[in-house]
């Protein structure tokens, strides 16, 4: 398909404002500034854009939750891309920083935001440098700061690097981190849209979501809505990783078939390997078995298939990989990244890691499987933020769909894949 979000990929000249403008950049913002903020919101609502961070919540509706009489509103661009298997925001930021800055400016204008934050993970030093340069250039040229493009609208954009925690990608963890505190998610409600950064209404949007905005405004909501399925439209970035030949980020219409992504765009499985399982939307989504992979990659279809589109980080697992090891690896990640605030996640993820470790290393016992299932139940839904649930969903699905691998480990008291 036509590359929209990635149209400037591998064009070093667009890292400079001049090159970006020459490539058609900032037409969206110019058009937006001719419209009223309400018209911009309406256009985004009409486009059907759904948040690209993972939850797939309609962006325009989220914007509508900001109280009408609010005086100070903040926008946070969530660039804390840390979901395992997800590397699309990084590609957007390092290839086309102005597209993101333009998107942030359009969203800020629509929401009447005067100060926006770009919260980026500290592990992205190169992207931080690129964005810093782009932001200074935008300020100098009047695309940011007092009177954007000669209009009456002013916007400050603050690049805020995190300190290296997965949890700061969670909306309220991010808000706490911006305020200078430990990234411990807040109890919801209240949601950030009513009480966010410094207790002011705050909208947190993902990098890819915001990068869509210049195109929605420039080409119109109808164009955006016409790409992909009606209920989750638009061009979409898919991150393909794991045991496939061509591991990359692909821009494809929403709803592209998962098998097509793996076997056509990904050029199929690595030599001598058969497809066994796929995590369709990053590590926090339930795993799909090979026979379940004939699914359209849009929010609703993947949900119907029992998983989630999430961040569209497709992780491909072959028959040569041990699912217990996969589970242990994931459990270790969640135990390490659990912020430690609420009991079930703090202690539960650690316990899961310990049990998966034992099973993978031949120390599993038959009752471990029941214990695992019980721990899943005691974590799921009983935690403050989605991290705990996000740990349970993939792990539970691995255990349920590949139970025989676990049983074999326990029976043989070793990992059968390690000869």
């Amino acid at each position: 398909m036509e590359q929209v979000l990635l149209r400037n990929r591998n064009k070093p000249e667009v890292l400079k404002l001049e090159g970006y403008i020459k490539a058609g950049g900032y037409d969206g913002l110019k058009k937006a500034l001719q419209m009223t903020p309400e018209e911009v919101v309406e256009e985004v609502k009409k486009s059907g854009l759904r948040g690209r961070g993972g939850a797939g919540f309609p962006t325009g509706i989220k914007w509508g939750f900001v109280p009408k009489d609010a005086e100070t509103i903040y926008l946070c661009c969530n660039a804390d891309e840390s979901e395992p298997g997800t590397f699309k925001d990084r590609v957007l930021m390092e290839n086309d920083p102005f597209q993101l800055v333009e998107g942030i400016t359009i969203a800020s204008y629509a929401l009447k935001v005067r100060k926006a934050f770009l919260y980026i993970r500290a592990e992205f030093p190169r992207q931080i440098r690129i964005l810093n340069e782009a932001i200074s250039e935008a300020y100098e040229a009047g695309y940011l700061g007092r009177g954007v493009l000669g209009s009456a609208y002013s916007l400050d954009l603050i690049l805020h690097p995190g300190a290296g925690a997965y949890i700061c990608g969670e909306e309220t963890g991010l808000v706490e981190s911006i305020e200078g505190r430990r990234g411990w998610p807040r109890l919801k409600p209240p949601f950030p849209a009513t009480k966010g950064v410094f207790d002011k209404p705050t909208i947190v949007n993902n990098v890819e979501t915001l990068s869509c905005l210049p195109h929605i405004i420039e080409r119109g909501a109808e164009w955006f809505a016409s790409v992909g399925p009606q209920r989750s439209p638009g061009p979409k970035l898919f991150c393909l990783s794991g045991e496939v030949n061509n591991r990359d980020v692909f821009e494809l219409p929403m709803g592209t078939n998962l098998r097509e992504i793996i076997f056509d765009y990904g050029d199929g499985m690595m030599e001598g390997k058969q497809l066994k399982a796929v995590f369709p939307g990053g590590s926090s989504t339930p795993v799909l078995k090979a026979e379940e992979t004939d699914v359209a990659m849009d929010f609703d279809s993947v949900k119907s298939a029992g998983s989630a589109l999430g961040s569209a980080g497709i992780i491909v697992v072959s028959d040569r990989t041990c699912m217990v090891k996969v589970a242990y690896n994931l459990a270790r990640f969640y135990a390490d990244e659990s912020c430690g605030q609420c009991t079930p996640c703090r202690e539960g993820t650690y316990w899961l890691e310990q049990i998966f470790y034992r099973i993978e290393h031949g120390e599993g016992e038959p009752d471990d499987i029941d214990t695992l299932r019980d721990i899943f139940m005691n974590i799921f839904g009983n935690v403050i933020c989605p991290l705990g649930d996000g740990a349970v969903m993939p792990l539970q699905s691995i255990l349920d769909k590949f139970t025989e691998e676990f049983e074999e480990h326990i029976r043989k008291r070793r990992c059968p894949m390690r000869e």
Binding site: D336, G340, C342, E347, I355, R358, D374, V383
Partner: protein, 482 residues
């Protein structure tokens, strides 16, 4: 609204946990505290709310009209048992050597809501003990991360000495290097800790808590008059805490009050009345001391025109003051109030440590002025210097040495608890009792506080009230005889 089938009236927006507790429906909780912000992180108070797909933390749920809540459904019980199992996963099984055992929320909840057996098969995470301040030691691995201590130091003292370091199951509460918990309310974190993590160094390994008896009394270390709980056993005070109701601190107390009870066991405590004879003070019986006192007092009147001064103490109770003021009035004597020690004043959110370090100058002044007349201390001193007053009856009772200038009268009767400087000048010394050894009333800036007796006065020491009454009787007997 409705909790467990019981119709309950509450205000909309009220905290569900508070409403339930108020109506006698107990929902277990660790991190919730009525005087701190809501953390909602321990997940122990999860309850089932109609129309909510997930269990909700009661502490973070506002009451709505017609809300239907189940605090004891199978789902709730399962979640609670799950939380207990998680909390105990890395919690050391060292109750036999833990000071908190017997008054530990984790222990009690484990009994009520937990699983009898552990399914843990891996070694527990071990963490080091940490020295957090001159008063506080921290057993990291017993901590359940309720963050009550952190919130207290952020919100009440606003000193923020504690924070969380590391992540996940390895999270630890800690101070910054070389920045101990240093504020005069620091000891409250010991009371706030629901488990045996934050411990008082002073109390450490001193006594199993089930051997302790308690009284709720009032603090005598400043003019505020905070309610306190005195824990004692075998005639000794072991610790002082905030008064608590089912693990809930109802009001803060300061470290001066919390740790300031050591004077009770001061080696220079007066254990017997003393009477001057052959140039020195020597221990005598109460009968003799009272007789000598009444002789001194009555002789000064018999000589005529000679005045007696009664000097009241800001440490005495209202009841004692009343007795002595009436005696002074009967004898037409002068009456004054000895000065209160002064110290540093501190102000926190809804809490003030008063500059005046004595509990009852207010009460004493009120009673003296109501029943008789009180003259300024300087004026009374002037009268002694001018020879107008030759006999003084001074009630001291200062817990720590306090220097004030009282000109030496010809005859001095002193009531005190320790061998203070003035004792050396006295003709009779009457051994009194501390605020832990008697009943009575203090009037502080918080209002009236009742002293409740925890200990007997040491040795032959007596309560001031009984001393004053005996003196009065002795004087009356003399008058009648005449």
């Amino acid at each position: 609204m409705n909790i467990d089938g019981q119709e309950i009236e509450a205000r909309e927006g009220e905290n569900l946990l508070e409403v339930a507790l108020r109506h006698g429906i107990y929902i277990p909780h660790f991190c919730y505290h009525p005087m701190l912000s809501v953390a909602g992180s321990c997940r122990m108070c999860l309850v089932e709310v109609e129309k909510s797909p997930k269990l909700v933390p009661a502490c973070a749920t506002p009451v709505l009209q017609n809300l239907v809540v189940w605090t004891n459904s199978e789902r709730v019980k399962k979640a609670r048992a799950g939380v207990m199992e998680f909390l105990l996963l890395n919690h050391p099984l060292d109750c036999p050597v833990c000071d908190k055992a017997g008054e530990c929320k984790l222990q009690d909840y484990c009994f009520y809501y937990g699983n009898p057996l552990s399914r843990r098969k891996h070694p527990r995470i071990q963490m080091a003990k940490k020295d957090l301040s001159p008063h506080i030691i921290f057993y990291s691995d017993r901590c359940i991360m309720c963050t009550r201590c952190i919130r207290f130091l952020n919100e009440i003292t606003k000193t923020s000495e504690l924070a969380v370091s590391y992540r996940g199951a390895f999270s630890e509460i800690d101070i910054c290097i070389d920045h101990p918990i240093e504020n005069p309310l620091s000891g409250n974190v010991i009371d706030l800790c629901p488990v045996g993590a934050l411990k008082s160094k002073d109390f450490l390994f001193k006594k199993r808590v089930w051997w302790l008896e308690s009284v709720e009394s009032v603090c005598a270390r400043c003019a505020r008059g905070c309610p306190i709980r005195v824990d004692y056993a075998d005639g000794r005070i072991y610790r002082i805490r905030s008064p608590m109701k089912f693990w809930e601190v109802l009001s803060w107390i300061c470290d001066f009050g919390r740790f300031g009870f050591k004077f009770v066991e001061d080696p220079s405590r007066l254990l017997s009345p003393l009477v001057k004879a052959d140039g020195g003070l020597s221990e005598r019986s109460w009968d003799e001391a009272i007789r000598r006192t009444s002789e001194i007092l009555s002789s000064s009147f018999e000589r005529g025109g000679e005045s007696v001064l009664f000097a009241l103490s800001p440490f005495m109770t209202c009841e004692e003051a009343r007795e002595l003021v009436l005696l002074a009035k009967d004898l037409d004597a002068h009456l004054t109030l000895l000065p209160s020690p002064e110290g540093e004043e501190f102000e926190f959110t809804d809490f003030k440590i008063e500059k005046e370090k004595a509990p009852n100058s207010r009460g004493v002044i009120q009673i003296a002025e109501q029943l008789y007349r009180l003259e300024p201390f300087e004026e009374a001193c002037g009268r002694i210097e001018a020879g107008e007053i030759r006999t003084a009856f001074a009630v001291l009772g200062y817990p720590e040495p306090y220097d004030f200038e009282l000109p030496k009268p010809e005859r001095l009767i002193a009531v005190d608890i320790v061998r203070s400087r003035l004792i050396g000048e006295a003709d009779v010394v009457l051994a009194g009792s501390t605020s832990f050894e008697k009943e009575g009333t203090f009037i502080g800036t918080l209002g009236e506080g009742r002293l409740v007796k925890a200990l007997e006065p040491p040795g032959k020491a007596r309560s001031e009230l009984s001393i004053f009454r005996q003196i009065k009787e002795a004087l009356l007997a003399k008058v009648e005889k005449r």
